[in-house]
C-alpha cells in the first residue's frame, strides 16, 4: 500500500509537525521507500509468537508513600520559554 501526500499530511497533524510543501514531498518518497522495506517482515509467520515489549521481564515497582527531595517551583519553570509567577505561560487555550 502506497502512502499519498494526503496520508503524510494526516500523519504530520497527528505528530503535530507543520511541514513545508518540500518536506511533504520528500517525506512521501522516503516513507514509501522505508515502508516497502518493512514489507519483508510479512514473510515471517508470527501467529504463534508472543510479543516482547522489553527484553527483561518488568514488574510494577511499589514504594512507600514518603516525601522525598523535589525541585522548587522556580527550578521547574527556569527553562520555560515564557513563565510568570512560577507558572508556564501559553497562548490562550479556552475561549472566553
Amino acid at each position: 500500500m502506497k502512502l499519498s501526500k494526503q496520508d503524510i499530511e494526516h500523519v504530520a497533524l497527528l505528530a503535530r509537525l507543520e511541514l513545508s510543501e518540500d518536506e511533504k514531498d520528500s517525506l512521501t518518497g522516503r516513507l514509501n521507500q522505508i515502508m516497502e522495506h518493512f514489507g519483508k517482515l510479512q514473510e515471517l509467520d508470527t501467529s504463534q509468537v508472543a510479543p516482547t515489549s522489553h527484553s527483561i521481564p518488568l514488574q510494577n515497582v511499589f514504594r512507600h508513600d514518603t516525601a522525598g527531595r523535589s525541585m522548587t517551583p522556580s527550578d521547574v519553570v527556569a527553562n520555560a520559554p515564557e513563565s510568570r509567577d512560577d507558572q508556564f505561560v501559553v497562548p490562550q487555550v479556552v475561549e472566553t
Binding site: V11, L17, L19, V49, T52, S55
Partner: protein
C-alpha cells in the same frame, strides 16, 4: 608520554602515589582539547571551570589521606544527551539548544561521587538518531584518524574525544549501536551493557525499550572500571535491575582456554566488506591459538532485524519526543498565534530532518489501524531474535562478529542515502533488540582506519565478554596505536 595520552588505570596509580595531581592531569587534558578540538570538534560544551574546580577539590581529598577511588581525578566526557545539573544539555538539537537541566542523570551523579572530572559534553546525532554524527544540528565531528571521515554515531563526539586524547574516558548511549559503531570507527573500546544494568534516569529518552548507557575507553581495563562505577539498581529508573554489581576488574584474566566462541554467519553477510570479515576472523584465530574454540552458527532471523528496528525505534521515539511542545522547556516558535500552531511550528523549527522523518514513521506505525501490522509484528519478531540468541548461548560463551560492515566512511558520503546509512548498524541492532550486552574493540586497520570486532555476551554476562576482550588485548597491540593528530 603526555598525561592526556594515558589510560585511567595508569593515571590512577600516578594520582594515588601523588606523582601527579588531579589539577595537573585536568590541565593536560583541557590543554589537549584546546589544541585539537578545532579540528576534531568532539565537544558541544567544554566545562573548563567546573573541571578545574573539581580537580582542586579531589586533590584536597587525596592530600587528606584515605581511599582514592579508581576514578578520582580522571577527566571524563559526557555525551550531550545526559542531563548535567546547571550545564547545558543540547542533544545536539535546536530544540534543546539552551536547555539547562535542573538535575543530573544518575550516571553523572555516580561519577561525581567517585571523584571523576567532567571536562565537557560531546556532540551526537540529534537526539541520538544517526550513525555518523552528521545529523547533529550544531556541527559535524571529524574522525581523529582521518579528518575527512565520520567518527560514527550517534556517540561520535564521545568516541572521537577518547580517540583524540581529549578525554581519558567517556560515556555514550546505545539504542542500535550508538556506542559500539563509533568506538569501532574511532579505534577505541565501547560497551553497551545488558538492558537494565545501568540507570537511564536523566538520559534524554529516544527508544526506551532499547536505550542503554555505557563506557567508551582507551582499553578494556578502563571499560571494566567505568562499567562498575555506573552500574546498579536505581530507584529513579524502574527498568534498572536489582542484580549485584560484581568487581568487573576481577574478570580481567589473560585466559580464554576452553572458551566457546560462536561465529554467527549472518553477521558476516549483509554488505560486510571482505577486509572487515578477514580482520575479525584473524582475531578469532588468534583467540583459538590462545586456547579458545570457535564454530560457525547460523541465526537466520538476523535478516529481519533491520526493518524490525526501524519500526520499534521510531515508534518509541515518536512517543518520547511528543514532550517537546514549547511549553515547559526547549524551543518555542515566535510565529504562533494559538496553542495548536505553537505546537506545530515549534516542532517544525526545533527538529531536524532525520528526527522529523523518524517521528513520522513512528506516528504512522502506531496510528489507528496499523498497530498490529507494524509495532506488534515488530515486537513478535523481537521475541524470535531473543530466542535465537538464547539458543546460541546454550552452546557458546560469547558470539563474535564485525561491529560495522566497513571502516569509517567519508563525511557527506552517505548523507543522501538513508538506507545505506542504516546498514552501518546492521551488526549492532540485534543486540539492543535482545537486550544482551556487547562490546567493540579494535582488531585491525584498513586504509589507516580502525576495524571493530564485536563481542556479544549472555544477559548480565559482561564479565565473560571482558575476559575475552582483555585476553585479546593483552596478546595484540592494536590498542596502543594512536591517530596522528
Amino acid at each position: 608520554m603526555e598525561l592526556f595520552q594515558l589510560t585511567a588505570h595508569e593515571l590512577h596509580k600516578k594520582l594515588k602515589s601523588r606523582e601527579i595531581s588531579a589539577l595537573e592531569l585536568t590541565q593536560s587534558v583541557l590543554g589537549r582539547i584546546s589544541s585539537v578540538d578545532g579540528q576534531v570538534r568532539s565537544f558541544v560544551t567544554v566545562t573548563n571551570e567546573i573541571a578545574l574546580e573539581t580537580a582542586r577539590a579531589v586533590d584536597k581529598q587525596i592530600a587528606g589521606g584515605g581511599d582514592v577511588s579508581p576514578l578520582a581525578g580522571i577527566p571524563i566526557a559526557i555525551k550531550d544527551n545526559m542531563c548535567t545539573n546547571g550545564v547545558r544539555t543540547t542533544c545536539s538539537s535546536k530544540m534543546l539548544e539552551n536547555f539547562i537541566p535542573p538535575y543530573s542523570a544518575t550516571v553523572v551523579e555516580k561519577l561525581a561521587e567517585a571523584g571523576a572530572i567532567m571536562v565537557g559534553k560531546t556532540n551526537l546525532d540529534e537526539f541520538a538518531m544517526g550513525s555518523s554524527t552528521e545529523n547533529s544540528a550544531l556541527f559535524v565531528t571529524h574522525n581523529p584518524w582521518n579528518l575527512d571521515k565520520v567518527p560514527g554515531g550517534s556517540s561520535g563526539g564521545s568516541a572521537a574525544a577518547v580517540a583524540a586524547d581529549e578525554a581519558v574516558l567517556a560515556l555514550g548511549s546505545d539504542t542500535g549501536g550508538s556506542i559500539r559503531q563509533p568506538a569501532a570507527f574511532c579505534g577505541v573500546v565501547g560497551m553497551k551493557p545488558t538492558y537494565g544494568r545501568v540507570s537511564r534516569y536523566g538520559l534524554v529518552a529516544f527508544a526506551s525499550s532499547l536505550d542503554q548507557i555505557g563506557p567508551i575507553t582507551k582499553d578494556v581495563t578502563d571499560t571494566a572500571i567505568l562499567l562498575g562505577a555506573i552500574s546498579g539498581k536505581d530507584s529513579m529508573d524502574s527498568t534498572s535491575v536489582d542484580i549485584p554489581v560484581p568487581d568487573y576488574t576481577a574478570a580481567l584474566k589473560n585466559d580464554v582456554r576452553g572458551m566457546k566462541i560462536g561465529i554467527p554467519k549472518e553477521f558476516f553477510a549483509q554488505g560486510v566488506r571482505p577486509e572487515i570479515s578477514e580482520a575479525v576472523m584473524k582475531a578469532v584465530e588468534a583467540l583459538k591459538a590462545l586456547g579458545a574454540d570457535y564454530k560457525e552458527v547460523s541465526m537466520p532471523i538476523m535478516e529481519y532485524t533491520l526493518p524490525t528496528y526501524y519500526i520499534l525505534a521510531p515508534s518509541e521515539a515518536s512517543s518520547n519526543l511528543a514532550r517537546y511542545d514549547g511549553v515547559r522547556y526547549g524551543h518555542r516558535s515566535k510565529h504562533s498565534s494559538d496553542v495548536m500552531s505553537m505546537f506545530m511550528k515549534t516542532r517544525d523549527e526545533g527538529f531536524g530532518a532525520e528526527v522529523k522523518q523518524r517521528i513520522m514513521i513512528g506516528t504512522y506505525a502506531l496510528s489507528a489501524g496499523y498497530y498490529d501490522a507494524y509495532y506488534l509484528k515488530a515486537q513478535k519478531v523481537r521475541t524470535l531474535v531473543r530466542q535465537a540468541y538464547d539458543e546460541a548461548f546454550e552452546e557458546f560463551d560469547v558470539l563474535i562478529s564485525p561491529t560495522a560492515p566497513s571502516v569509517a566512511f567519508g563525511i557527506g558520503e552517505k548523507a543522501n542515502d538513508p538506507l545505506e546509512m542504516k546498514l552501518a548498524d546492521v551488526c549492532t541492532i540485534p543486540v539492543n533488540m535482545a537486550g544482551i550486552p556487547a562490546m567493540s574493540m579494535t582488531c585491525g586497520f584498513y586504509d589507516g582506519l580502525p576495524i571493530g570486532m564485536q563481542i556479544m555476551g549472555k544477559p548480565f554476562g559482561e564479565e565473560t565478554m571482558l575476559q575475552v576482550a582483555y585476553t585479546y588485548e593483552q596478546n595484540t597491540d592494536h590498542h596502543t596505536m594512536k591517530p596522528g593528530l
